[in-house]
Subunit: 196 residues, 2 copies
């Protein structure tokens, strides 16, 4: 019904995650109505991000430098490494401004169901970073079956090396309602209780 090249653009938008047919049509029409220079700015942003962004050679987070800003900083505590599943998780923790150590991004979690084993995520790269300077590794993978399994797997690898391995606390979210908390979270909250 639409001109071929417009239909192709709709199909391309439709392939993106979370973009259904109606959204794809709306986005394609929006692009058609955008001034030429804005479209080029959009296209250039895609190309530039695609060519310049790669993994930090140390922590495997996304960066456009060889070593990312956090790894290169002289103000960070190099004794602690926080292990996370994705770059988005790093951004979330950085926003709190409460953590001053280093990071390591695994880019996924061990998931035999999806055919993802320990060699498919950045565990080797973590091991090779563990100089005697590193005293603590915080496992901040997601509180999912896969995240827990990954945390356990790495903890077992690291403990014989004399490194303290810790796990982030699970419990009722701040502002959350105990009445509506699921049983697992509530159990964890009780287990993790602390004296006040």
């Amino acid at each position: 019904m639409y001109p071929v090249s417009l239909q192709e653009l709709i199909d391309e938008f439709n392939k993106l995650p979370g973009i259904g047919h109606k959204s794809a049509v709306r986005l394609a029409f929006h692009v058609m109505n955008m001034p030429e220079e804005k479209v080029q700015k959009f296209v250039n942003a895609i190309n530039r991000a695609k060519t310049s962004v790669h993994l930090c050679s140390k922590c495997q987070n996304l960066t456009d430098k060889d070593v990312c800003d956090i790894c290169a900083s002289t103000k960070r505590d190099t004794n602690v490494i926080c292990v996370m599943e994705s770059p988005k998780d790093v951004t979330a923790l950085e926003k709190t401004r409460e953590y001053n150590g280093l990071y390591h991004v695994l880019h996924g979690a061990i998931s035999p169901m999806d055919g993802i084993g320990p060699d498919d995520i950045k565990i080797k790269e973590l091991i090779s970073r563990l100089t005697p300077e590193v005293t603590e590794v915080i496992m901040a993978t997601n509180p999912t079956v896969e995240g827990e399994a990954t945390a356990m797997y790495i903890a077992r690898l690291l403990k014989p090396m004399g490194i303290t391995v810790t796990r982030i606390a699970h419990g009722i979210p701040v502002g959350g309602d105990i009445e509506y908390a699921d049983e697992v979270t509530l159990t964890r909250a009780i287990e993790g209780r602390r004296e006040i």
Copy 2:
């Protein structure tokens, strides 16, 4: 927090309609993880649609030819023109396969509140198409204040030219529930009642 070029890509996605910050991050990460050739296919689709799609010189619908397929077809009834606000409306009506006349796309509706007057939409182009061959013009603008005003404005222009101007029927949608119909729709449904 993200590398500059990645942040710029997130910002570009964020500018698109219906794409909030979280969706923009997800889309940018998806693009980062796409194979290079798929990204180029996406970028090429944008560029190709942008350069090849323009308005049909007759009906003002989107096309990649000089005259669109519908206007060029010898199988369409050239006595009737259905006037619609947008190319999406044409696609919706074409899907029914019930209408065999021509179209005219206004690209908007008269809306003094938004500073859109009769000269800002494709009314001149409609008038110039009205050869003696055209016997009926169907006003299929949206049943909104702007759509109604536009239909009335064009009807008043066309009637002195001896052309039958009709308006699409408003009423209860098929499968709709009378109990939940709004008052205006219900009033229109009663007004438009027909003998069975």
